[in-house]
Structures are given as C-alpha cells and as structure tokens.
Amino acid sequence: MSAREATALDGVRSRTVDPRAGYRAAQRRESMRAFLLAVPLLIFLAMTFIVPIGKLLIMSVKTDEVANAVPKTAALLARWPGPPALPSRQTFEALAADLQAAQDGGTLASAARRLNTYEPGFRSLLLKTVRQMPIAEGEQADEALLRIDRRWGEPETWRLLGRAAHRWTPDFLLTAMDHRVGVSGAIEPVEPSQAIYVGAFVRTFAISASVALICLVLGYPVAFLLATLPARQSNFLMIFVIVPFWTSLLVRTTAWYVLLQPNGVFNALLIRSGLTTAPMALMFNRTGVLIGMTHVLLPFMILANYAVMRGISPAYQRAAVSLGAHPALAFLRIYVPLTLPGIGTGAFLVFVLALGYYITPALLGGAGDEMISQLVALQMDRQLNWGLAGALSVYLVVFTLAVYVVFNRLVGIDRLRLG
C-alpha cells in the first residue's frame, strides 16, 4: 500500500469517525455563502456610511493645519512651559521662518482660519505679520515681531498658537458643549454670549420629542382605524398614508411654506371662517417647524403602530368585554398594552429621524428654532470649521445611540419592525 493511499484512507476514516467535522464544514460553507451574499451591501455601507462617519469622528479630534504650517514653532512650543513667561527667542525666530515658508507653500490661509476660531483677529495678526517679512538684517526676531504687533508680546497669544499647533485636540468637542480650556489650563464654560450649542441640542431634543408626541396622538387612532377596518377600505385609506412617501421632502416642505404664509391658504380660511381677524403666525416659528415635521414623519408612526395592531387578535378585546370590562376599559387595559411595541417603535423612529432634520426647520422655522443639523451645516459650508461640525455630529450620534439603548431596554429592539 503506497503512502498516498494510506493518507487517503486516513482521510476517509477520520471523516467517518467524527461526524462533527462534516457538520462544521457544512456550517462554514453556509456562513461563507451568507457572507458572500452580503458582500456587495457591506462594501456599499463601508464606502457610503462607515468611512464618512469614521472620518467625521476623526475630524472632530484631529487638526493639523497649524502644525503643518508652522512645524518648527510647533515643536518648540510643545516644550515651552507656558505663561507667564514668553517663549524663547528661538521660538520667535522659528515662527518668522515658518510663516514665510507657509506663505510660500500656500498653507498659511487654512492655518489662519483655524487660529481665528480660537481668537477672532488671529487671522489678521498672522497676515499682518507675514506681510512684513522677511525681518530686516541685524534685527532680532522677537523685537521685530513685537514691533510688528504688540500682541506677540502677550503669552496668551503664544498659548493659543501652541494649542492650535497640537495635532490632536479636545477643543472641538469642548466647544460643541460650550466649554473651552481657559488661561489656567482648566476646562471652563465659554461666555454666555457664545454658548449656543448646548441650547441647540436641548432644542433639537425638545422639538424631536414634541414631534414624536404629536405624531403619536395623531397617528395612533389612524393606525387603529386602518387595522380594524375591513381590508378593502383599509387598503384604500393606506394609500393616503403612503402617498407622502412618493413626494420629495423638499416639495412637501415648500407646500407647507405656501400654505402657512401670513396671507397663505390657511390664514385665508381662518379669517374667512371668522375664527380669527388677523393672520396667525404659523411659520418662521416653532409652530411651523412642528407642523412641517409632523406631516413628514407621521407615516412612520402610523405604519409602526399599524404593523403591531394588525397582529392583535380582536378576540382579546372580546374576551375582556365578555369578562365584564366596559369596551373603553378593555381598550385601555388590554389593547393599549398590547400595542406598546408599536408605540415604542413609532416614537423611537420618529424621534431619531427628527433629530437629524434640517430642511424643514430651515424653511419653516424662525431664529429660535435652529436644530443641531442646521448648525452642523453652517459650520461645514459657511465657517469651513469641519472640526466643530464633526464634534457636533459626534454628539448627535452618541445621543442617538443613548436613546437607542434606553429604548432597547424599555421596549426591546427585536420588536422593531415595519409593515
């Protein structure tokens, strides 16, 4: 018997001896197959979702504009003990050289913009300084800089430059919570006039919660109606719930824009019917935001509850009534508890979707109704402060996850399903 034959026989024997091996192989093949089927979606998700979000997260703690623009200064400042003393003369010389190089290399503008977010006026200081470069022969760098602008004589200026020159920074995350690192190096709240983000978060949560509540109050009875009507009528009514999905969000919001204007259809009807004499303020305020967002998000609430209600046998309520409960009591004590998964799912969906709303509050809201997404957008494309935009987004993601965890505890995410 040749060696090869022997091993082949061994293989056969081991296969027959251990049936679990065959089972495991089949399992592996099965999971491989499942994985391959999911690969296209995984790639898509990675490229469109995981990578951008990851970048955003990194952006919120990473900043290298200043460190890249003034590398030598950054290295020296890292070793400087900080105020009240000024940095060494060497540092002044390095800065002068760095600024010139940055001007030539084209990295100065972004560094200046970044520094301006720490201290308004920093950009002009840098530009003013670089315009007077190079320093005259024989003049010391520190004297020259002090001559160009007295602010180079203040340790605070250097401290800010030093902070900005770090590649990794908590500053965006602090700013997004209306805090900063103060002169003493301790974390302190910013001045009340600049504290806008915590308020915006609170407002965003308040608006989202209100929208979820309004949607629940309006949507629950409709879902009940749809779930209890005969199939033909319920299918017909269901069209009206679904139709909004066929229309773009922008179109629907614009429609409300037209309807809710002071001299729009709504006010005209109110005045015509004699309910009011003067037009009511229905937009550019919280009312407009709530109306618009409720309209957009209501179908989610209805569908989530409808899905659960459809599965509830009418026998439960009949049983409760036959046992002596008034129909209203039977509804409250039997039906409503059975629909809790629907209520939870609907409220969670609406709340989470509302957290990220942007267009509707922008079009229908007033000055006091800015939601966090609007501030993110503002930082992104107006202020070009991507770090802060990233930090705000990070908090939004974290808060949403927290809501998810709480929801999961209360209702159980395994019950989350639609239609």
């Binding site: 046998s313 026998a315 439960y316 009949r318 049983a319 409760a320 009534v321 036959s322 046992l323 002596g324 409960a325 008034h326 129909p327 009591l329 039977a330 004590r333 039997i334 508890p337 059975l338």
Partner: protein
C-alpha cells in the same frame, strides 16, 4: 349519496361502552364534589349537591342508570324566540331559532361548518345582534344588554388569554373590573387555580404554558366571577386527541361540581354526545333536533340527524303505509321495510331509512315480524370485538353492518350472499332531508 358516513373500525360513542363511560364520569364527578358547602362557590354548590344526590339515587336504584336520567328537571335559563340572523340582509345564517337552555344543563351546539353555531353563541354573548326575534334571560329581554353587562363567561377557541398579564392576573381580570376587593380577588384566584390544579404556574405568562394549561386557565377565568352561564366555542379544537379527552373530562367535572350552565359549540360529534345533557344539531341555520344524546342517536328526527350523528344505513324510498307507530318504506317496488314512523312521514312522500349498523343481524332466525334484506358481501374488516361488513343491498353498495365476533365463529367471506334481519323497533323511517 354517501349514506354511510364513517371510516372503518373507528371507535366512537356508538358502543355501549361510551355510554358507560359517561356514567363513570358522572360517578367520579360525584366523588370529587365538595363536602363543605360553605367553602367553594356556595350558591352553586348547593344546586350541584342536589344534582349529585339525585344522580346518586338514580345510580343506586337503577344500577345502570341511563344518561337521560341524569337530566335535572329545572327551569329555563335562556330562551331563544324566533331568532333570525343575517349578516348581509339576504342570506339567513340562522332562521327562526326557538329553543331554551335549562338552568344547570350542558347543552352542545353541534353541526357542520358554517351552520350557524358560532353566530348563535355570539348572539347569546351579545357580540352579534339578532336581526329578528328575542333572547330572554329568565323572563327579561336580553337583546339590548351590552355584552359586558350580561355576566356570561366565555371560553374562546384560541383561549384569548391576555399575553401581557400573568396567569393570576388573567384570572383576576373579571374580578378587578368588578371592583372586588384585592384580598378577596387573591383568595378567589387561588381557589380557581386550585380547581384547575395550576397553582404552580400562577406567575407565568400565557405564552409559557402548554395548550392544555392555557385551556384550563381560560376556563378558570370564565368561571371565577361565578357567571350563571358559560359559553365555549370549540374550546378543545386546537388540542391533540389525548389532551382533548383529558380536557373533556376536566370540563365535565367542573360543570358537575359548580352546577353552572354550559353552552358548548363543537363539530366533533363524539365530544358532543359524551359530554352533553342535550345536543342541538344545527344545519343551514336551523336546529334539526334538540334532544339527549340517546334520543338523538336512537330516535333521529330526520335524515340529516340520522346521517350526521353516528353511522347510518340511510336507504331512500317512498312511504307506502303508516299507522300510529309504524310506517312502511318501499326501497324498490318489491322490497319494503317496516320501522317506527318519524314525524312528517306520510304515505306517498319520500323518506329515508335510519338503521344503525349494530342493529342488524346476519341470520333470519327471529320471528316473521322482522325486516329481511339480502345483500352480497363486498368487504370484510376485522375489528377485534366485531366484524364490519360492507354489502350491496337493495341495488346499492355501502350498506354497513357490524357482526359481534366470537372466537370460534366462521368468519364471513367476501362474495357471499348474506341475509340480514332486524326488528321494526330497531329502525326508523324518517323524513328525507328537509333542510
């Protein structure tokens, strides 16, 4: 026409054994009934004990008391008077229903699918309103009373236990909506759990119970508020055969013990016949016959009942003669059968023979009064205690008879020609399907 309704060797109520079992059930129920009347459901227990005493007396006196004698002579609890029901305004689901439910009785509604049993039950529970006629509870009209004020317990086919409540909370529900004090609720729930022997699952959710346990909890929930009347719509439909039989016994035991009136919907005839004091046979929304199981089986009112209940040799023919008790049915011009005359049987009308397979004997030794019929044996099936023969007689295949088996007997053979006979008292001439 399929005038033999059942498969082979199927054990069913027809044997005397089943009736005996009924009486056995009754005896066990007696043994289980409480001795201390002040303890459990005092009002009900008194009547239960009275019934039990009566039954005991009859068992002692008659030795083998028939099921019929168990019937209490009590007063009507519910009366259906000319009840019509239509869902669409055109077809009547029930038509001119007239019947009473006696206090304390176990009444089954039996009938094929779609015959209106559930609808009748729903009208009684108040979930459907009759289109015409009146339902009385005692003397008072019940039509307008909303379901939650009717005080009627109900057991649904799929139990309808509230999934969001524990077993104990489920049973306490009817008490809590009646504002029974908490402490009393607790003791009554405990007693009810004891009755169904499920004290140990009080804290579980219905989903954590087996089908039979859920069934028992549903039963306890429907009984715990001491309704006079309990309705059950195919309560055992979802259980397997063994569990079904256990639960039949359980329901029967509880019925006997509490003396509560039960209306029980089923389309399982053996269930209806073994459990009930009376059975109402529904067909096309009408009650074909409402009677005790024994009368239903031995004295069917019409061809539908004869064919629906048990096995029947329903040979069709024309009535050629009738007197006060007997009628003659011509199957063919040469072949006539004499039997007890059913209602509505008149000379010249079409009628059907109602003859149970076990009433026919294979030889013609008994007197000249008897009916005789010759047939050729098509099939012989050995069933242990009896032989089951399928014959062609009076030009029709499918005539079934049962021949008691004796070990030394020469078995009948297919192809043989057999002469069968039975006495006119053992068969009945009933009106052809009038429904």
């Amino acid at each position: 026409m399929a005038w033999v309704r059942h498969g082979r060797c199927q054990p069913n109520f027809r044997s005397q054994g089943r009736f005996d079992e009924c009486n056995r059930t009754a005896r066990i129920a007696l043994a289980l009934s409480p001795r201390d009347p002040s303890h459990v459901w005092p009002g009900r227990v008194r009547s239960a004990l009275r019934r039990a005493a009566r039954l005991q007396a009859s068992l002692m006196a008659g030795g083998q008391a028939s099921v019929d004698q168990r019937l209490p002579a009590s007063k009507p609890l519910v009366t259906f008077s000319n009840i019509d029901k239509t869902y669409d305004g055109e077809t009547f689901v029930t038509r001119n229903l007239n019947f009473t439910i006696q206090e304390g009785e176990f009444l089954s509604l039996l009938g094929p699918s779609g015959s209106g049993k559930t609808t009748t039950l729903m009208m009684l529970a108040g979930f459907e309103a009759p289109s015409g006629g009146t339902v009385y509870l005692g003397q008072s009209r019940l039509n307008e009373t909303p379901p939650h004020r009717r005080n009627i317990g109900m057991v649904f086919q799929n139990y309808a236990l509230f999934p969001n409540m524990t077993v104990a909370e489920n049973i306490a529900f009817p008490l809590s909506v009646r504002r029974v004090p908490k402490s009393e609720q607790r003791s009554r729930v405990e007693r009810a759990l004891g009755m169904i022997e499920l004290v140990h699952v009080a804290g579980r959710r219905p989903a954590q119970l087996s089908g039979g346990q859920q069934q028992r909890v549903a039963l306890a929930r429907a009984l715990v508020f001491e309704p006079k009347l309990v309705l059950m719509d195919e309560p055992l439909g979802a259980l397997d055969k063994n569990l079904r039989e256990t639960m039949q016994y359980e329901i029967k035991r509880i019925h006997e013990r509490l003396g509560v009136t039960v209306v029980y919907v089923t389309h399982d005839q053996s269930e209806a016949l073994t459990m009930s004091d009376r059975v109402a046979v529904f067909h096309h929304g009408r009650i074909q016959q409402i009677a005790t199981p024994k009368i239903l089986y031995e004295d069917p009112a019409n061809a539908f009942v004869a064919n629906f209940i048990g096995e029947n040799n329903g040979l069709p023919g024309t009535v050629t003669a009738r007197d006060a008790r007997f009628a003659t049915l011509a199957l063919t011009p040469e072949l006539s059968i004499r039997g007890r005359a059913g209602e509505g049987v008149a000379i010249g009308t079409a009628a059907t023979l109602a003859l149970r397979p076990e009433n026919v004997s294979l030889d013609d030794e008994t007197g000249g009064e008897n009916n005789h019929l010759r047939g050729s044996i098509d099939e012989v099936i050995y069933c242990g205690d009896h032989w089951r023969l399928h014959l062609t007689a009076a030009d029709r295949a499918g005539f079934v008879i049962k021949v008691p088996n004796k070990t030394a007997m020469a078995p009948p053979q297919p192809g043989m020609v057999a002469t069968m006979s039975w006495s006119p008292d053992d068969c009945k001439i009933v009106a052809a399907d009038g429904a």
